[in-house]
Amino acid sequence: MTTLTEAPPAAPEPETPAPRRQRRKLTPYWLLLPGILWLLVFFALPMVYQASTSVQTGSLEAGYKVTWHFATYWNALAEYWPQFLTSILYAGLATIFCLLLGYPLAYLIAFRAGRWRNLVLILVIAPFFTSFLIRTLAWKTILADGGPVVGILNSLHVLDVTSWLGMTEGDRILATPLAVVCGLTYNFLPFMVLPLYTSLERIDPRLHEAAGDLYAKPATTFRRVTFPLSMPGVVSGTLLTFIPASGDYVNAQLLGSTSEKMVGNVIQSQFLTVLDYPTAAALSFILMAAILLMVTFYIRKSGTEDLV
């Protein structure tokens, strides 16, 4: 342990200064090594491979060669921009719904749950004990055409409203945009709640008292104190929700119809069915670039440096 901490200046050890400093200098790199190797093998290499695939041409029969065919990108974008828009729209809606549902929940856990806090937190994570696919399939049963949910919403004429908004069609929910957005919201909700909870939990409750002492109404306290302090949680929560949601294809596949296909579905079908690897790779890169751009812009605008 002592070799790692800063040596006290009053007691220099003249015999072994050089190797020790050397070792101390190298320690961070040794600690980084597993992570860097992991990144190299499972992120950097696949990225290079994918980048290469996206500029290749050929066929499975004849093999693929790098021909720097950048038109693939343009063609992919021209052909599949509607699915890109759909992805961004659905992921955006799911993120907003997650925030609207997740913020009060995280607030409750952080400030009001008392001794139930751990239990509620476990309940938030509990769905993760089953597989993603099973959870999504469960929604097919919940939203089934003849099921109670659709029946109740129908008799309350809620579906007329959503239908007018273009989110549902006729008297069903499955195979409509609403079903896909619901599935996304449900599946990614914990990713929103947990960062929100961490940053809310850190807020000193005495700040609320202080705000009260200064004659701030509860709403003002929330607007001027709590919410700004929870911004890091909001930013990281929205990112953790939006990024995976925009690349998701399971929800659109199982809960959507043909016109709800997201860009993930296109990549999957190009890669597995059509066997057009360059287009699939180019689409992945375009998605990545689009997300990177949006995220950068968002972080700049949100004005927060810390992400938790």
């Binding site: 290749q56 093999g63 790098v66 699915q83 097919k140 890669f271």
Partner: protein
């Protein structure tokens, strides 16, 4: 190197700044590291690596097709099959009587995996090893004919040794004997024939019968409750038959006309989903009122839900075949061949067919089936009668170019 030094800073501050840029630990900032690492690697190494990679032609398998056969030393065979494609004992779902009979007779243990869910997905799974000339870890796989044709074309399947297949050679039913892509069945043997039919749930249709593809695509009563198969050949073949085209010798124009017809149904939201095997749960629940379906599935569904009915369209139906083949570099080729042969003994074939309800490719199975169940023996879906055989159609073999083009057009239909 010129350095940016703001005038507003004091001498000491400037010195500190310069020192910090040269000195020890702080000289290596995170940003600097990223810039050096990212920029350098991407521009120099990246470009080299990018043009260095490439995917070799599929058909060149390295180092020959066969590996050393360990069949004698290792009494094992690894068999990959589709789900619900093997008989199970009534009292214990983990016991598979026909496989157990094989082990008992030969002493060869079967590692049975139900890991084929979708042809395209499975191809994606085994492609990397096969392309690199490596063992896939599987000795026997069951895939649909068009994928088998592709594997044979690439030289990724091993030629079977007839000496190990006496029953199979003798008992293969005549209508399965010759296929364009595998003359004389040198590489593959059929596991089961699959008929594509129109299925419907009378509860969801309100008692209506659904009898044709036209009705699926046009009947306003079915709007938003129609399922279509995501297998391109099955769906396109059925649509072409409905339009009076012959799926055994259609042209690209015929294909496009059929695609346009389906597109119209997609656009007016008649079609709810393109499904794989998952239509079964939707159909029983009634979320799908009617759909294209695989006959054997429907027979199995009917046992649980009498509302599910099916109809063979008057225009005919498409038959696909799931076949068994030994992929390159399999370690236990001979054991695999003996397993294929096992299923060509009529009594074993009958036991299997009575359970899976698909067309049995073994001649002489009818008599054996009758011993198990008279009903199964007379079921035209298992042992096709004359009328059934006449309505059966194959989807013609596609050239690689056609395959890519048609799959792309079909993918557009499904929205992706």
């Amino acid at each position: 190197m010129e350095q940016y030094e703001p005038d507003s800073l004091s001498k000491a501050q400037l010195a500190a700044m310069r020192r910090s840029m040269r000195n020890g630990r702080s000289a290596l900032t995170r940003r600097g590291l990223l810039r050096a690492g990212g920029g350098g690697a991407l521009t120099l190494g990246g470009l080299g690596a990018l043009s260095g990679c490439g995917i070799p032609p599929a058909a060149q398998s390295q180092g020959g097709a066969s590996a050393e056969d360990f069949s004698d030393k290792e009494k094992r065979v690894n068999f990959s099959n589709w789900t619900e494609y093997m008989d199970v004992a009534e009292d214990d779902k983990n016991r598979r009587p026909t496989l157990e009979a094989f082990t008992k007779r030969t002493g060869i243990k079967v590692e049975y995996a139900e890991d084929v869910n979708d042809n395209n997905e499975f191809f994606g799974k085994i492609k990397p090893q096969l392309a690199a000339g490596q063992d896939t870890g599987r000795d026997l796989i069951c895939v649909t004919d068009w994928l088998a044709a592709r594997l044979v074309r690439f030289g990724w399947a091993q030629k079977l040794d007839v000496a190990n297949l006496p029953h199979a050679y003798a008992n293969l039913a005549p209508q399965f004997r010759d296929v364009e892509w595998d003359p004389g069945r040198a590489y593959t043997y059929p596991w089961a024939g699959i008929a594509v039919v129109v299925a419907y749930n009378t509860k969801a249709t309100g008692g209506r019968e659904v009898t044709s593809v036209s009705q699926l695509l046009d009947d306003p009563k079915l709007k938003g409750k129609v399922g279509i198969l995501s297998e391109m050949r099955d769906t396109m073949g059925m649509t072409m038959l409905d339009m009076g085209k012959d799926p055994e010798k259609f042209t690209t124009d015929d294909f496009d006309a059929a695609a346009a017809r389906l597109q119209k149904a997609v656009d007016k939201r008649q079609i709810r989903r393109f499904t794989g095997n998952d239509y079964t749960s939707d159909l029983t629940k009634g979320d799908l009122a009617a759909c294209l379906a695989w006959a054997g599935d429907v027979v199995q569904l009917q046992a649980d839900n009498p509302d599910v009915k099916f109809h063979i369209p008057d225009s005919g139906y498409i038959t696909g075949t799931d076949v068994l083949l030994v992929p390159n570099k399999a370690r236990h080729k001979e054991n695999a061949e003996r397993l294929i042969d096992h299923y060509y003994q009529p009594e074993i074939a009958a036991e299997l067919a009575a359970w899976i309800n698909y067309v049995c490719p073994v001649a002489g199975v009818k008599e054996e089936l009758a011993k198990i169940s008279e009903e199964a023996a007379n079921d035209p879906l298992i042992v096709p009668d004359k009328e059934m055989s006449e309505k059966s159609n194959n989807f013609r073999a596609l050239t690689p170019k056609e395959e890519t083009a048609y799959e792309a057009k079909f993918a557009k239909l499904t929205g992706a």
